[in-house]
């Protein structure tokens, strides 16, 4: 499936071509639409990218008999190629032929855990539990990034609105490394921009030599301290040693990239200071940065957690973009008059911005290749809960990636007609209930996605076999 091309060699040839072609365009990061570019799926640059946009707190799931069912259900009505988008996702209609909506999938391990704890495992499928001991595993994006090796300067871009790692079961990031440790997400546009495009050191070769010695020295310090620690502390301290090793690897990578100049991008036209006082602009800027990182081929992997679960935090204010004070509250207020609609309007806003981002990729011809950048980029847009805190039937949208062989324009409706929905009536919460029928394990989809991304992995998160029809 995957052509066995030496990643480095291949990437460097392509990059030079790419940079020449794009330097002028980069001065204007916010390009007007370039119009439709003819797609020829047969050929292609071979470049594959992945981005995950995760949002918290589930989606509107009014009951069938509810007047809001027709208009404000998140999931479309129908199935297969015959489906109608509701008002929540109709903003994605122009991208219909580039997308697949999926219902009835979830990770099995934490189906009985409250939805607020489950952003952590969305991309990992790990059994992160409800209380006590916490263990996670590598996330899909990082697996793909590892597969790409050093094809790009940076292995991945990890972002969230709330920043940092958050806490176990309260993650502020959806990316986890090989040891299952949270990778801190960056939340400030300027820092993201500068980390991608601004040179910090004049003399990179010298810097690398000095840093190499420094890291050796830190390792010596760490080992000597470690020997004096108790067993309990030693375990906690392990992560420092790992940090030294990881920094070493990154440095090695940077060293190999030294000779290739950074793409010239001035941040002009991007509002890098934007914050939660302008939530829509902030959301757009974050996705624009992904677009920019992809266009400059600085990386081919990105994750963006739109918000932490359970409200409280910067991200809760994103709802101001559509005139509501707090986002998380909307998922609770669905029983109030107009509640489904309000929640739906918010989810629609998220879909609209992701759609705008996808459209932008679609309007950008793939540099040095065929088709649009969207054809070479797989977008996963979703959440780890559906109805009120229920960790089943994840709302999922796949966009783009046609050149990888995705057959889009469909609704893979695994849940059928009996999706659990409705407002919470104050009794047992949906996540505490017993269910007769189980969802399809989401990792099946992930296996298919990874395979189309060129990663021969099976199983993922202990689940084997992909899914048909995609």
């Amino acid at each position: 499936m995957q052509r066995n091309v030496g990643a480095t060699e291949y990437a460097s040839i392509d990059r030079r071509r790419f940079l020449r072609g794009s330097a002028a365009a980069l001065a204007l990061p916010c390009l007007p639409s370039l119009g439709r570019v003819p797609v020829s799926p047969a050929a292609g640059s071979g470049i594959k990218r992945f981005v995950c946009v995760y949002f918290p707190d589930g989606v509107p799931m009014p009951l069938r008999e509810d007047p809001a069912f027709q208009e404000w259900s998140w999931f479309p009505h129908g199935s297969g190629r015959d489906f109608q988008l509701t008002k929540v996702l109709d903003v994605l209609e122009p991208l219909r032929s580039d997308m697949t909506i999926v219902s009835g999938m979830s990770h099995p391990a934490v189906r009985a855990v409250h939805g607020h704890s489950n952003a952590d495992q969305f991309l990992t499928g790990a059994d992160t539990g409800a209380v006590g001991q916490y263990r996670n595993s590598i996330s899909l994006d990082q697996l793909f990034a590892a597969h790409l090796g050093e094809a790009t300067r940076y292995s991945s871009l990890v972002m969230s609105t709330d920043g940092g790692t958050g806490t176990p079961r309260g993650a502020h990031t959806v990316s986890f490394d090989r040891k299952g440790r949270a990778i801190p997400a960056e939340h400030r546009p300027r820092q993201i921009f500068e980390s991608l495009f601004v040179h910090r050191d004049g003399d990179a070769a010298r810097r690398a030599a000095v840093s190499g010695s420094a890291l050796d020295d830190l390792l010596a310090d760490a080992r000597s301290l470690r020997s004096s620690l108790s067993e309990h502390d030693r375990e906690a301290f392990e992560e420092y040693l790992d940090a030294v090793r990881e920094t070493e690897q990154k440095m090695e990578r940077a060293k190999r990239w030294q000779r290739i100049p950074l793409p010239k991008v001035d941040g002009h036209g991007l509002d890098l200071e934007v914050g939660m006082d302008a939530p829509r602009a902030y959301f757009q800027t974050m996705l624009d940065l992904v677009h920019l990182a992809f266009r400059t081929d600085s990386t081919r992997v990105a994750t963006y957690q739109v918000g932490r679960e359970n409200g409280v935090g910067h991200s809760d204010h994103l709802a101001k973009a559509v005139g509501f004070p707090l986002a998380h509250q909307l998922s609770h207020d669905t029983k109030n008059p107009g509640g489904w609609k309000n929640f739906g309007i918010y989810c629609r806003f998220l879909a609209e911005e992701v759609g705008r981002f996808a459209q932008k990729l679609k309007d950008t011809p793939e540099p040095g290749g065929d088709g649009s950048m969207l054809d070479h980029t797989l977008i996963l847009f979703g959440s780890a809960s559906s109805a009120f805190h229920l960790s089943r039937n994840y709302p999922l949208v796949l966009l783009g990636g046609k050149s990888m062989g995705f057959r889009h324009g469909q609704y893979l409706n695994f849940i059928g007609d009996d999706a659990f929905g409705g407002s919470w009536n104050g009794g047992t919460e949906p996540w505490q209930r017993e269910f007769d029928k189980d969802d399809v394990p989401l990792a099946k989809l992930y296996v298919t996605m990874l395979q189309k991304l060129g990663v021969e992995t099976d199983p993922f998160a202990g689940v084997t076999g992909g899914i048909d029809g995609l």
Binding site: G164, P184, L218, H332
Partner: protein
């Protein structure tokens, strides 16, 4: 503390029975009826119920060696539980999932200790059995509480000696920042690039449980450390300072030109009609004499005024600097008049240097002789294009312009340029005059708060304005190199000076040798000696020896829990606790002499540290984390409903709890003042909000709470009430849960993750007040048991709206601020709540305060093993009057603080 007494269990139990007796009077309905008149009186009476204060309450070391008292449990306790509890929590029913008959009464090795602690709490608080349940006689209750308390103490002491509980952790983001600033003597936000730290469940951000380090972080530490050292040190000769000497005469010239052009235009328009022309000219001249508002220039001679104009385009307002330093010229008759909340802008072009001090002097006076003196702050900004701009306040404190109109004085700001962020992005890329514009500016901004404008006639900006060269921050790291001193020798001297300060302990020869080896490797890559040394020192600042606090190295054969800290570790723990930073030279010297642990020395150091300005960080960070003031930072208030809510009020709300805490700490006031105090710490904006009179200005100060004002203490502070509302209306549940978690230290059972769903579609319900809705909701059996424990605490605050202002009506109905707790206790309004807390819950509150401070001080979650120590601290604190500073001192002197 008395030497430990060895007593047999029976004697101990007898003592404990006496200790607990005070808590037994079932909460105090009887007392409410003949309620004493003042809260002070209630507070005095409440103290008499304290088990910590009971005359017999020596706190003997409980005998932990004899193991669990299972026999006593079977003989004395189980029969009581069987009679009064098993009906609902036994074989037939497991109400709330609790079955007492299945819980293991072994506190030493059993796994049900947490459940037993809940049992102890509900019995002590009189919450069980329920009013309509089986009876539990007072003496039986006493016997159970007594047994549980003692068993808890014994087991906790026993477990402490044998179990690991670690405070080993890295510095938090803010501690790292302060540590570099204090160590190097430079001001900068060194933590800017570090990811935010997560908060633990109880809100603390310095917990060993939650502080991790990610791969990408190490690089950030290395970069930030190098950046810090580069900012602290200098190379080469003293840089030539640039000076912008700007008279208002010069600055105004452009505006006069503009006015002259307008005059010319009018004259030209009416060329044929001299009378008309004169009339129009006179009209204009009259207009030019009117104060235009904002910031304007004034020519005293002619009385002419013109508003200051500014535009970023083409940098046409930029002033040219000179390399020659000149004295301030004599005062001129041209002034700029800066009215409240407006500012004078001086554009500087693109030559403001990268670093060094930026000094701004300006000659000014107040425009009015009476009233409050105006204040001025320094802002720094730039605008590159339409959508790319920045304007930030860079002065740390306002300057008070107190000079009278006829005697202007010179005022000075000095800020490190390195602290200014962000600088103009296109500086050095685009030419001055081009777009996007690389130019930058300063603003002298009137801080408001008085009606008097500021008059300025001259502004002088100098940068970099070094007083000494090299600056002290440099020589502290790099002393003068002696003649003929070899590089290796000098490097060793630098390391020997720097490392003990950075690592907060003496360093071994081997460690120095290791760093010298690094120096040799790095030296080969660097052009200069200093550059190489900066690299080496930066490495020591990313070392775990700098980044981690309280290493837990233990001596062979010593139980971990009991191992005392070394003096050096104690110095670090103290500094991290009270300064959120690293120890200073005095602490390190005492630690090196191994004297710091001596009780008098330690007490003296705590007193010194409390008086140091760095102790403000403790107040700030502890209060923010303890109270979760983040809720207030994130609060959005509906401005349509609360028109008088503004940024200034919000800022004052955020500052009040910290200022209040600071006052308790400064004056060692009783922490019961948190519940109620007869004073408040407010500034003018808050005083206005509260309806207090006679408070002027932005500074916080202590004022008496006026008679009959429903304020005093922390619970009724506007910010606390507002942040536990939803921006539109009060929120009794949020307020109640917050109170239980943060103040009573008794979090409600894991709340349903949902705000209760209330059927607003039901027209009957839509008409109700929020309180009525909640009561309606509470009538559902499923919700009842939790909510009756929670809601009344919140109802008591119903007289306060969503911005914490007093109200007597809500939705046209009179406020009903009363509620009845599960145990039958009535809480009637905030006064009733205060009465209850002061009368019946003093021990719980003080003990809670001790726990919160201990959690913060140790940087780890408290565990069962700590309970005995916390009880001892609380007893001592209570005996000494509950002062906040007393808690801090007692805590620092305790074994808990002084061991790992």
């Amino acid at each position: 503390m008395p030497p430990p007494l060895m007593l047999d269990t029976t004697t101990l139990r007898r003592i404990a029975a006496v200790l607990c007796a005070g808590t037994l009077s079932l909460p105090a309905q009887s007392e409410i009826q003949d309620a004493p008149s003042s809260l002070d009186e209630i507070r005095r009476q409440g103290a008499q119920k304290s088990r910590y204060l009971a005359p017999e309450a020596g706190t003997p070391e409980p005998d932990a060696a004899s193991g669990p008292d299972l026999e006593g449990f079977a003989r004395d306790i189980e029969p009581i539980l069987r009679r009064s509890c098993y009906e609902c929590h036994g074989p037939d029913e497991d109400e709330g999932g609790v079955r007492l008959d299945e819980m293991d009464p072994d506190f030493f090795a059993g796994e049900d200790v947490d459940w037993w602690l809940d049992v102890l709490a509900v019995l002590t608080n009189g919450e069980m059995p329920p009013v309509d349940g089986p009876k539990l006689a007072d003496e039986d209750r006493a016997r159970v509480i007594d047994w549980l308390s003692l068993e808890t103490q014994r087991a906790s002491t026993n477990r402490r000696a044998s179990r690991a509980h670690s405070s080993f952790r890295r510095l938090t983001r803010y501690e790292y920042d302060y540590a570099l600033q204090d160590l190097l003597g430079v001001s900068y936000d060194f933590a800017a690039d570090l990811p935010p730290d997560p908060a633990s469940e109880d809100g603390f951000r310095n917990s060993s449980e939650t502080l991790h380090i990610a791969g990408s972080q190490l690089r950030t530490y290395l970069d930030a450390g190098r950046r810090a050292l580069e900012l602290a040190t200098v190379t080469g000769d003293r840089p030539t300072p640039l000076q912008w000497s700007v008279s208002m005469r010069d600055l105004a010239a452009r505006e006069w030109d503009g006015q002259d052009q307008q005059l010319d235009k009018v004259r030209k328009q009416h060329e044929g009609d001299p009378a008309k022309a004169q009339e129009e000219v006179d009209k204009l001249l009259a207009r030019f004499r009117n104060p235009p508002g904002g910031t304007w220039f004034e020519d005293a001679a002619s009385g002419r005024k013109a508003r200051q104009s500014w535009g970023y385009n083409g940098a046409s307002y930029a002033r040219k600097p000179s390399e020659e330093l000149v004295d301030l010229p004599a005062p001129s008759d041209h002034v700029a008049v800066v009215t409240p909340n407006s500012s004078l802008i001086v554009e500087l072009g693109d030559r403001v240097p990268e670093r060094g001090p930026l000094r701004v002097r300006f000659r000014a006076s107040r425009a009015d002789g009476d009233g409050r003196a105006p204040r001025v702050r320094l802002m720094f900004g730039w605008q590159a294009s339409n959508d790319s701009r920045s304007l930030i306040e860079v002065s740390e404190e306002d300057v008070v312009v107190d000079a009278l109109p006829d005697a202007p004085a010179v005022y000075t700001f000095e800020v490190p340029i390195s602290r200014i962020y962000p600088r103009n992005l296109v500086r050095g890329v685009h030419k001055l005059g081009d777009l996007p514009s690389p130019s930058e500016y300063i603003r002298l901004a009137h801080a408001g708060g008085t009606s008097s404008p500021v008059r300025i006639d001259h502004v002088e900006i100098t940068a970099p304005a070094y007083d000494t060269w090299p600056p002290a921050s440099h020589t502290r790291i790099f002393p003068d190199r002696k003649p003929n001193e070899g590089e290796q020798k000098y490097a060793r001297r630098v390391l020997e000076g720097f490392l003990p300060r950075a690592w907060r302990r003496s360093v071994t020869k081997q460690e120095i040798t290791q760093k010298l080896a690094l120096f040799r490797r790095v030296r080969a890559e660097c052009e200069s000696l200093q550059e190489a040394l900066v690299e080496v020192l930066a490495t020591t600042l990313a070392s775990p020896n700098f980044l981690y606090v309280t290493a837990s190295d233990r001596k062979e054969g010593q139980a971990e829990g009991a191992a005392p800290l070394t003096d050096a570790e104690l110095a670090t723990r103290l500094a991290v606790f009270l300064w959120c930073s690293v120890p200073d030279d005095e602490l390190l010297a005492l630690a090196a002499e191994e004297r710091l642990h001596e009780p008098e020395v330690l007490a003296a150091q705590v007193a010194r540290m409390r008086a140091d300005p760095r102790a403000r960080r403790f107040a700030h960070h502890f209060v923010h984390q303890w109270l979760n003031l983040e809720l207030l930072e994130f609060l959005q208030v509906d401005r349509k409903l609360y028109r008088n809510f503004d940024a200034k009020l919000k800022a004052a709300m955020l500052a009040e709890p910290v200022a209040f805490f600071d006052e308790l700490l400064r004056a060692d006031r009783s922490v019961l003042d948190v519940v109620h105090a007869d004073f408040a710490v407010v500034n003018e904006r808050l005083a206005t909000h509260y309806g207090f009179e006679g408070v002027e200005g932005d500074d916080f100060r202590v004022v008496p709470v006026p008679a009959n004002a429903p304020r005093g203490g922390l619970l009724t502070q506007a910010g606390i009430l507002a942040m536990n509302s939803n921006g539109e209306d009060s929120h009794p549940i949020k307020r109640a849960v917050w109170l239980m978690e943060r103040i009573l230290n008794d979090p409600p059972p894991p709340p349903p993750p949902a705000v209760p769903e209330i059927d607003l579609a039901d027209p009957e319900i839509a008409k109700m007040t929020l309180k009525q809705r909640l009561e309606d909701h509470r009538n559902h059996a499923a919700c009842m048991s939790c909510h009756s424990k929670i809601d009344p605490w919140g109802f008591a605050f119903e007289n306060f709206d969503a911005v914490g202002a007093w109200r007597s009506e809500v939705r046209g109905q009179p406020v009903d601020a009363s509620g009845t707790l599960f145990n039958g206790q009535t809480l009637d309004g905030v006064d009733g709540l205060k009465r209850f807390l002061l009368g019946d819950r003093q021990d719980q509150f003080v003990r809670g305060m001790v726990e919160k401070l201990a959690t913060f001080a140790l940087g780890r979650p408290l565990v069962f093993e700590d309970r005995a120590a916390l009880d001892r601290i609380t007893a001592e604190v209570r005996r000494n009057g509950d002062g906040l500073a007393t808690i801090v001192t007692t805590l620092v002197q305790s074994d808990l603080f002084r061991s790992r």
